[in-house]
């Protein structure tokens, strides 16, 4: 299955012996005319002291490796992104038995510092938390927050005064299926039926519990067990009833018919039919692509679309995923993170509902082969009009280092788009922050200081979260578009944006907070524009079906566009 044919002599002899004994990138080398992607970790001066605590034990239960969602959300509507970190709990009680397990909300002070407002906001959380998904589900203009976890999912409603209320029970989104709480990892807010209300897709992973927890590896050097030792779980889709409650429509929509080992989730209208589709990254199972049947349900077409497996016909340990148009083709492609030795699948959307895996063709194959990735993002990090790739990296197992070929703590990865459908691994040259080895997990993307560059916040087990401010050079122009739906959901999630720059460069993106690994990113849609200081046209296709055009738009601004 590796595809490698080792030279034969040994194999032949081994077989004979057993019988006898009955025993036994093309990477462009042209001069870099592009701006340099650089990041600076400003955690130390930020006041953000969050350390992801997985509460692990000597037996290294599998839950200890899969947590770490991060959310970037402007919970107080001051125009600046605030930070939210999910956190672990004691094992096996799965309770946040001391403050080191608290989830954390940090308010952005707009000067590069943050203030911990967790207690005041009432979002310390309960249980062994995993992921976060932020969006305004009740269209009141204030972002709400959904958390996933092993034994507890929580929906926090924003009270508009800096506090939140846990409305999980009333809303009916506790992550329980057939009377059993499933281990949820990621969530995505999506208006799948275009009714103007955000629905909620929750990915579920394995049937783990403290009682059936398995142990792998020798004593004292336990490793995280492979997911094959546990059964997978179905995902859940909640339909928003518009009255603060949700209905589990997993069966009715066909979502629950497909059982995988769901980790990351990303959404996009991959076939351009005006209905948002869902990609679920499954760990060592085939990935799911849920094609939206015009709001009536979903067909799982991962196999038919060629995103279920790699181009080598095998599944990988898919963890994070992002679903955006990285090729400026008008069709969203996929970037998936996976384990070392597997490469990170990068899928190009070929139209007509099929994808081609372009991992080696695009030049990220050899570099990503050595990486184990979690958080994943397709963002234009140098504002040149071409989206780059970011991965938050670390091996799964804390004791992976017992094998000298493995490294638990890994530096993050960044691949620069060379504007010709290929990428170059520029991780090492992107600054000391990108050489920092840690047990990275979730990654959320957004412009923390509104300087027009996409920053990244990454969690890491046992070490401080990293606030990777984007300090890329080049002076390129940019725009960030904040959509306000009126007929559509208020966040405008699912709006497809086509941007034509003065130079004629055309780019596409969609409004979403979903993607990456267990994380939630800036809902504003960011475009880099290179030397273009004027945007010829911005076209928005809202989920309601409304088509809206803006012409001759200035760059270097956060532009709020209200649906007309």
């Amino acid at each position: 299955m590796t595809g490698v044919l080792r030279p034969t002599t040994l194999v032949g002899m081994t077989s004979a012996f057993a019988c006898t004994l009955g025993a036994a990138l093309l990477v462009s080398s042209k001069p870099n005319e592009q701006s340099r992607i650089r990041f600076e970790n400003r955690q130390a001066q930020s006041g953000v002291t969050f350390i992801l605590n997985n509460g692990t034990t000597d037996d290294k239960p599998i839950i200890d490796s899969t947590l770490g969602g991060v959310a970037l959300l402007d919970y107080d509507n001051d125009g600046y992104l605030d930070l939210f970190f999910t956190n672990g709990a004691s094992i096996p009680s799965l309770s946040k038995s001391n403050p080191t397990f608290s989830n954390r909300l940090y308010h952005n002070n707009r000067d590069g510092t943050f203030t911990d407002v967790t207690e005041h906001a009432g979002v310390a959380g309960e249980g062994y938390s995993m992921g976060a998904a932020a969006a305004d589900y009740d269209n009141d203009g204030w972002v709400d927050l959904y958390l996933t976890g092993v034994n507890r999912n929580i929906l926090y409603h924003n009270n508009k005064d800096g506090t939140f209320t846990d409305v999980t029970q009333k809303a009916g989104v506790a992550g329980i299926s057939d009377g059993r709480k499933l281990w949820s990892v990621s969530a995505a807010w999506i208006d799948y039926d275009n009714d103007g209300l955000l629905d909620l897709l929750v990915t579920n992973y394995l049937d783990w519990s403290p009682e059936n927890s398995r142990v792998c590896g020798p004593q004292g050097r336990r490793l995280s067990c492979p997911p094959s030792l546990y059964k997978g779980e179905p995902n859940i889709l909640y339909h928003n009833n518009g009255d603060g409650t949700f209905t589990d429509v997993s069966e009715a929509t066909g979502i629950a018919r497909h059982v995988g080992k769901g980790m990351g989730v990303a959404i996009a209208d991959y076939d351009g039919d005006g209905w948002t589709d869902i990609f679920v990254a499954n760990d060592n199972e085939r990935n799911f692509l849920f094609k939206n049947r015009r709001g009536q349900g979903f067909d799982e077409v991962g196999v038919e679309s060629f995103v279920a497996y790699t181009d080598d016909g095998v599944p990988v340990s898919s963890m994070g995923a992002d679903f955006r148009d990285w090729s400026n083709s008008g069709r969203p492609g996929l970037f998936v993170t996976a384990l070392g030795g597997e490469t990170f699948p990068l899928f190009r959307n070929e139209d007509h509902g099929i994808f081609t895996m372009a991992t080696y063709e695009s030049g990220i194959g050899f570099a990503s082969f050595k990486m184990s990735g979690w958080g994943a993002g397709i963002y234009d990090l140098d504002n040149d009009g071409y989206k780059d790739l970011f991965s938050a990296n670390s091996h799964v197992s804390e004791n992976a280092d017992v094998n000298p070929q493995q490294q638990y703590r890994q530096p993050n990865g960044v691949f620069q788009n060379l504007r010709n459908a290929t990428f170059r691994d520029v991780s090492v040259e992107a600054g000391p922050a990108m050489r920092l080895r840690a047990a990275h997990r979730g990654a959320a993307f957004g412009d923390l200081n509104n300087d027009g560059k996409v920053d990244v916040v990454v969690s890491a087990i046992g070490s401080p979260a990293e606030l990777l401010y984007n300090t890329s050079t080049g002076g390129n122009h940019w725009i960030a578009i904040e959509t306000v739906g009126t007929k559509s959901n208020r966040d405008g999630i699912g709006t497809r944006i086509k941007l034509t720059a003065e130079s004629g460069l055309v780019q596409y993106n969609e409004v979403t907070t979903a993607g990456s690994y267990a994380s939630s990113s800036d809902k504003r849609v960011h475009f880099g524009l290179g030397r273009d200081s004027i945007i010829k046209e911005i076209e928005l296709r809202w989920p309601s079906g409304t088509l809206q055009l803006l012409r001759n738009v200035k760059t270097d601004q956060v532009l709020k566009i209200t649906e007309r």
Partner: protein, 338 residues
């Protein structure tokens, strides 16, 4: 105490029939190790003039006979030597290696064990025993013996190779690379070692070095004991990853010629043809691959179904594409090897 020690001190060593021939014997061993049996034979003749009673000459005769393909003569001579020098380790170790090379595994197993009992530090015995233990499914024990053998005699290319293959299977890639490099340094004609070296360099991110190793392996790949019929296949795959599609095709074309009964080369060439949009040829190759069993699981059925689905989709044959989509959905995915 002094009396006991005295015979062991070099100045007091009693003369033996081989005394004074040590240098010649070492040269003979060196020539034999290098595969120069003719030169070894000449040296042996000269030595026998001066040391006609030296028993080790018999061992040399046995090894020369083996090198010349005179199997029966070699066998007899190894036995004769063991009868003459039953307490010497190499009386069994070379014989064990001979038996191993000639497929007499049980006897090789017994003799290698006996050789180590006589002399636990006999480098040849350690190497042969290590190789046998690995073949018997005891790679850890085999590795330990081979490591010791390589320490005692770093110039034993075969032991270096065997040790490196154990590291390769254990995914100790850097260690494997280090030992395969020793092999190709001693024997640049060993195409298999070059192939392994390239395969292990690649996942370490040493792409250019891997490319060079493949090229050197191909240059050395001549008929003989080290001929590697999969080298073109592995290089063709590698070149496809490097986006050198024409060169990849050349090597995959050769790979299917060299190994027409193996699924993997056909599969890989089908992938290449799919990539260059030569769908008809891709279908032909993939269907050919599908008709070849792959008991080693190098290319599993699921991979073929996925590939065939892609090819038929591109050919517009929705019925066949649908068939293979169903098959791939029905086929369990292989578990991850953590």
């Amino acid at each position: 105490m002094l009396l006991v020690l005295l015979p062991c001190t070099p100045s007091q060593v009693r003369a033996t029939p081989c005394s004074g021939a040590e240098q010649q014997l070492a040269s003979i061993r060196k020539e034999l190790a290098a595969g120069n049996s003719r030169a070894a034979e000449q040296m042996l003749q000269e030595m026998e003039h001066t040391h006609p009673e030296c028993p080790e000459a018999i061992l040399a005769h046995a090894r020369i006979a083996d090198a010349k393909g005179a199997t029966a003569e070699a066998e007899d001579t190894f036995v004769r030597y063991a009868n003459l020098a039953p307490t010497v380790g190499n009386a069994y170790s070379y014989h064990a290696r001979f038996l191993l090379e000639h497929g007499q595994y049980q006897r090789a197993d017994d003799l290698s064990a006996q050789a180590l009992e006589v002399d636990p530090n006999d480098a040849v015995a350690l190497a042969v025993r290590g190789e046998i233990l690995d073949m018997k499914g005891q790679p850890q024990q085999g590795m330990e013996l081979l490591e010791k053998a390589c320490q005692l005699d770093p110039r034993n290319a075969r032991a270096q190779f065997q040790l490196a293959t154990i590291y390769d299977r254990a995914k100790r890639l850097a260690d494997a690379v280090s030992h395969f490099e020793k092999v190709v340094e001693m024997d640049p004609s060993n195409a298999q070692a070059w192939d392994y070296l390239a395969l292990d360099l690649e996942p370490l991110g040493e792409v250019e070095r891997a490319d060079l190793a493949y090229q050197k392996g191909l240059a050395a790949n001549q008929p003989g004991p080290h001929f590697d019929s999969f080298l073109d296949y592995n290089y063709g795959r590698f070149l496809m990853k490097r986006n050198d599609l024409p060169a990849s095709k050349r090597h995959l074309d050769r790979a299917v010629e060299l190994a027409p009964d193996i699924r993997a080369p056909w599969y890989e060439r089908a992938k290449l043809n799919l990539r260059v949009k030569n769908y008809a040829q891709a279908r032909e190759d993939a269907e050919r691959a599908a008709n070849i069993r792959d008991p080693r699981g190098i290319i599993i059925d699921l991979q073929l179904y996925v590939l065939l689905e892609q090819i038929y989709t591109r050919l517009g044959d929705t019925a066949s594409a649908g068939k293979y989509a169903r098959l791939s959905r029905q086929t369990p995915v292989p578990p991850r090897k953590d």
